[in-house]
Symmetry: none
Subunit: 408 residues, 2 copies
């Protein structure tokens, strides 16, 4: 093995970490010789991606793992969602996560509009017809019912509330200013105007008329949430002198990568599913990308979904299906392979928790410890002890001999 690595592959098992159920976890009970071999040949530990006892969203976790302090750069999910769907957001923009929804008499009947898939025509109609003087409105659909909205112009503020009531059966909300400033009040007014105009544009749109005929729920409104001012983030290349790439299916994670200045590399059917096969393809793509990039972040979906579903067997099976991808990493040369999770999504809780995640670092120079399997019940015994997410990049850069010395 070469003495020093010159590339980093960071694989994040989204929501992969868990709490024990009858003494074991999906990771601990899965038959996964590849991932266990990485743990066996690497240095292990547990990690609080943001801080002890903090339940992180995937966006803030990934920021921390990439070395960007979320308390400094995280302004809300909007900017990351918008960047993730391909909007070229700029500092000063106010961005939102949007969802096409079904609203009846002012009440949100379905926050996903019957899980509508093709929203091209609806998005085009909003882009064409919804106007507010003095404000550029950039609206773009994402996968399924998802979309993003960006407001660009003078005097805008992110200090406003969501229009999304966050639960079916509640009234569509009016956007209100949360700061006593003219900018916040102005922006709330802009948002309310957009919300209202969108209902006018979508209500009698042919696609929705058609959906009603088919007894499908119409996508007759948009819900806005996660307003955030676009942060000014140091460029990944400038920060680390490494050309970075992100491989992910979630727009939110792609957006994190993009706002950090990383290139987004898509995989053929990547967004389509969360099976072991599609997720293995991401790792294959990442290995290939190491030929042209110095740092590749791969976000692996599947485990998180199973955690939210409370499905232990599905989560376990996913790791088993994924495992061949990890076996292919064992013999990479000059690559530091880091495998971890962004947060726990325990099947008994069905949402993100703050339980620390396991982490392994495998590759040239690491002090191999006695931990021989990769799971959250044993990782605490490893040589890394208990890290924070912001520790990962400094450790990795040091192993690559890219850290500057402090002192003489």
């Amino acid at each position: 093995m070469p003495a020093i690595a010159n590339k980093i592959l960071l694989i994040v098992l989204d929501g992969g970490s868990d709490r024990p159920v009858n003494g074991t976890t999906p990771l601990a009970s899965a038959d996964k010789p590849g991932l266990d071999a990485l743990a066996n040949g690497g240095i292990n530990g547990i990690m609080d991606t943001v801080d002890i006892g903090v339940r992180p969203g995937s966006d803030v976790s990934h920021l921390a793992l990439l070395g960007y302090d979320p308390y400094k750069y995280y302004t809300g999910r909007g900017p990351f969602e918008a960047a993730g769907v391909g909007i070229d957001v700029k500092k000063g923009d106010v961005a939102f996560r949007c969802d096409f929804a079904t609203v009846e008499d002012g009440t949100v009947k379905d926050r996903r509009a019957g899980r509508i898939q093709d929203t091209d025509a609806l998005a085009a109609a909003i882009s064409e017809k919804v106007k507010v003087p003095g404000v550029d409105i950039i609206f773009k659909r994402s996968t399924g019912h998802r979309a993003a909205l960006v407001l660009r112009g003078k005097g805008l503020s992110p200090d406003i509330t969501d229009t999304d009531p966050h639960r079916d059966g509640l009234r569509l909300k009016e956007c209100r200013a949360t700061a006593d400033t003219p900018e916040a009040k102005h922006t709330a007014g802009v948002v309310n105007s957009i919300s209202e105009q969108a209902m006018g544009v979508l209500g009698d749109h042919p696609l929705n008329v058609d959906r009603k005929k088919q007894r499908l729920l119409p996508a007759n409104a948009i819900l806005l949430r996660g307003a955030g001012g676009v942060p000014e983030m140091p460029d990944f290349y400038g920060k680390y002198d490494m050309k970075g790439a992100v491989i992910a299916s979630a727009g939110l994670i792609i957006g994190v990568g993009k706002l950090c200045g990383m290139e987004c590399l898509t995989v053929g059917e990547m967004g389509a599913g969360l099976s072991g096969a599609t997720e293995r393809a991401k790792v294959e793509k990442a290995i290939a990308a190491l030929g042209t990039h110095d740092f590749v972040l791969v976000n692996i979906k599947g485990a998180d979904e199973a955690g939210h579903d409370g499905d232990f067997a599905k989560k376990k099976k996913f790791f088993e299906e994924m495992d061949p991808a990890f076996q292919s990493l064992l013999h990479l040369q000059r690559v530091l392979v880091i495998v971890t999770a962004d947060h726990s999504t325990p099947v008994l809780v069905k949402r993100h928790t703050a339980d620390p995640v396991p982490i392994v670092i495998h590759g040239p120079g690491v002090r191999i410890d006695d931990v021989s399997r990769f799971n959250e019940l044993i990782a605490y015994q490893g040589g890394l002890h208990r890290l924070k997410g912001l520790d990962v990049m400094p450790i990795a850069l040091d192993l690559l001999d890219k850290e500057e010395k402090y002192g003489a």
Copy 2:
């Protein structure tokens, strides 16, 4: 076992942690199957209740364990002592810990006035006769020689020195301002006047005349120390959405709980002694209190006293006497049981030290580690690694599924 706990029982073995003597400690050598079973079935670690290398008082430790940063809320022991004896302190008050003492010709002969017990009549005399224009003087006795004083009024400041010389045989001190402000100088004057008036009131008090006849030391003065402005502390219920209770015999700890807005639940003979039996009764009371409260803090005295006495055997025996109480916790349902200490009081040092304390968290959802006994020599091998006191509440709330998510 249910998936998620909904109550928290925090048991603090005051001063329970130690340094090794001939390779072992009171905790490590005690026969305590109950506490060891909690460790065996829980997740363990070591903890710096305030920070690494900081020797904490019980008050600041308990604040940290309850999630209140002592560097923000601890203004001196006075306010906590005063709240602990039942004075309804208010923001702006300046509060003191007091002791009835024996002073002869200006020299403090005994800082505990011969360990006087019944001070009711003396306290009443002070309350009735000691007056300072423009200042409300609230004086209340506590157990034994202890008492508390609160000054209420305009223009008061806690920036003053103690009158207590902190050692027998030294002169009773004059209170001085430590800040160059009119408020501090005014308050120092108030304190000196109270100190002098108290000597007048107590000197020829019938109770002291009587004591002298019995060749007991008269309680002819009060010593003041720990001046602190009453802090404005967020209410425990508002902060955590949990109804909290404190069970303790030390006024200082009761005061910490009260200033946090917790209910103080006393146990019959709780204040009377520090035997295994009285301390076990606290735990029994706590288990009952979990029926009406979401969070119960129990402060267990006994070990600290033995540590201050330098008595290894007594400290060890205390844990053995206490142990049945821990056995009764093993089968609680939906209760997260946390056992720790607030600081070390090593028998070879006889005072508080900064050595980290052991901690175990037992209950639904915890990742059980390989540690099978509860003591400060082995706890470092546990899955929690090394915590700080302020980490405890976030970890516990996360296990109870009560933490908010940060990010998306």
